[in-house]
């Protein structure tokens, strides 16, 4: 079943400026329960696409459906937003309250959940992201990775079926990045929440079920990471790079060695090297 579907989605920020379309006739379906990574460099339209997934932006042409609901239907706005939650880049700018648990409660409070149930949801959400011990802390005293996990908990507490994360790791250090990605993968695996991860880090896409590459407002590649990354020339033509493992295999192939291009993880790559040279 599809949780998100776009039909010939066109979007431009300002029709009179003549800067042209940010998204061009985009057709996309996202399967419920899957982990989808959307890769693209700055200006590829990936963040703009993300903002269409919970009706923050509305299409200038075409349609977007969230579990069958048209996002331009204002009557169902709240229902759409509680179905698809959104986590943004800067954790500081999405935390509303002075205390961690109050912030996580913000979403459920907005949709009118009874007090006793908010309590259970908040506790559940904080446990799911491993921040339960910090429930009474002030958010500004937490690390970047912890803040981002609190932001994720704030979304989970609304019990969405899908989470869209718009470059959630861009402002974090490597350990914070790891924390956030592990959390997101676990939520996908254990709670069955659909995850759409927008990123420009190749490495974050390797474990995804599906990888979509965007450039200039259009999808240029779509498939499993093993299908997409071997298209080294296509990716490099649009100014993107490939994971270091694929890059290495590519160079070796050019030098005449029979390296597989779909050995994405460091372990797989090492094994392939061992087979080729050993």
């Amino acid at each position: 079943m599809n949780i998100i579907r776009t039909e010939k989605l066109d979007f431009e920020y300002d029709a009179e400026s003549g800067r042209g379309l940010v998204l061009k006739e985009l057709d996309l379906e996202i399967e419920e329960g899957s982990f989808v990574a959307i890769l693209g460099h700055n200006g590829s339209g990936k963040s703009t696409l993300a903002k269409h997934m919970n009706a923050i932006l509305l299409p200038t042409g075409g349609k977007v459906f969230v579990s069958g609901m048209d996002t331009s239907d204002e009557e169902r706005l709240l229902e759409i937003r509680r179905t698809v939650g959104m986590v943004f880049q800067n954790p500081d700018n999405q935390i509303v309250a002075n205390v961690v648990e109050d912030d996580v409660a913000f979403g459920p409070e907005n949709i009118g959940i009874p007090t006793a149930e908010i309590r259970t949801r908040v506790d559940e959400a904080l446990k799911a992201v491993g921040m339960y011990e910090y429930r009474n802390h002030a958010p500004h005293l937490l690390s970047g990775g912890q803040k981002q996990r609190v932001a994720i908990a704030g979304i989970i507490a609304m019990r969405p079926r899908c989470i869209v994360l718009d470059e959630p790791t861009a402002m974090l250090d490597p350990s914070g990045r790891r924390e956030v990605l592990d959390t997101v993968h676990r939520l996908n695996r254990e709670n069955g929440i659909t995850v759409v991860l927008i990123t420009h880090h190749m490495d974050e896409c390797i474990d995804a079920d599906r990888l979509i590459v965007m450039a200039d407002g259009a999808i240029i590649a779509d498939g499993s990471p093993r299908e997409v990354f071997p298209q080294v020339e296509l990716l490099r033509d649009t100014g993107m790079d490939v994971p270091a493992t694929v890059g290495l295999a590519w160079e070796l192939r050019k030098a005449g060695y029979d390296m597989p291009l779909d050995a994405l993880s460091a372990e797989e790559c090492a094994e392939a090297l061992y087979r080729v040279f050993g």
Partner: protein, 268 residues
């Protein structure tokens, strides 16, 4: 250096005063101020003073803390006292030299005025020392709730207040960063005269404002995508409840008011 600024001046604790509902404390503070201004004679003042002293005692806030909170208004108290001393035209002259006349009535008014200000500030300090800013905004929102009927945006105001409180540490941190960045490029913030110092603040304020606007924009988007749509149909994780201790405290406050009105009638 900026991180050292204490904000809200809340001292966490678990005393009766801390545990009271913020609404009770707000109402009591208002009652206390009314009573203080109704008080006329020495006995009334003594009664109000005792009430304040007991409250401070129960709250376990150290006297030193209260006194240091009074320090910024010391000059105000002195000026009020001196002006009252000089301009009160009483009957009993104590001292007369050059054009200055000091009367017994003048001394008395000066002292009561000074005492009144000290007690006023000490009482309100007790409120902010024992109530977290968040509780205060929450209590204020609940108290002002009836005003919604005449279209006062009570929920929106309290939301703005709590967001402002939430962003103070974030913006302080940011100011620190910008200051360091400007210093690294040769800006000087603490040299020169007042005008030079004010001018030096400009390269600090412009980036700070730009970033504050950007943050506000992003926060609004994030709030919307978390289904925020104003106060309508909103529930709360922490509901304020009036306990028995709150009602008892309020009754004590009302008795206090009655007592001072009675004493005023009697001219005490």
């Amino acid at each position: 250096m900026l991180k050292d600024i204490t904000l809200g001046q809340y001292f966490p604790g678990d005393t009766l005063v801390h545990r009271l509902d913020p609404r009770t404390k707000l109402v009591m503070t208002i009652l206390y101020i009314v009573v203080l201004f109704l008080a006329k004679g020495p006995i009334s003042y003594l009664a109000v003073f005792l009430f304040l002293a007991i409250s401070i005692g129960v709250s376990r806030i150290r006297l030193k803390t209260i006194l240091s909170g009074l320090k910024p208004i010391l000059i105000l108290i002195l000026i009020t006292a001196i002006l009252n001393l000089l301009y009160n035209r009483g009957e009993t002259v104590l001292l007369r030299f050059w054009r200055i006349t000091i009367t017994l009535e003048g001394v008395f008014t000066a002292l009561t005025m000074a005492l009144r200000i000290v007690m006023l500030i000490a009482g309100t300090l007790l409120l902010t020392y024992t109530t977290s800013p968040l509780q205060l905004t929450d209590g204020l929102e609940q108290l002002l709730n009836p005003l919604k009927k005449i279209h006062v945006p009570v929920h929106e105001l309290s939301m703005m207040m709590s967001i402002a409180l939430r962003f103070i540490p974030t913006l302080i941190e940011e100011t620190d960063k910008i200051m360091n960045a400007q210093k690294a490029r040769g800006a000087e913030f603490d040299t020169g005269n007042l005008i030079q110092k004010a001018k030096a603040m400009l390269p600090l304020l412009v980036p700070l404002f730009i970033s504050a606007f950007r943050r506000a924009d992003e926060l609004a988007t994030a709030m919307e995508s978390r289904c925020y749509h104003g106060g309508e149909g909103r529930t709360k994780l922490k509901v304020l409840t009036m306990e028995r201790r709150d009602w008892i405290t309020l009754i004590v406050g009302l008795l206090m008011l009655a007592l001072v009105i009675a004493l005023r009638r009697l001219g005490l």
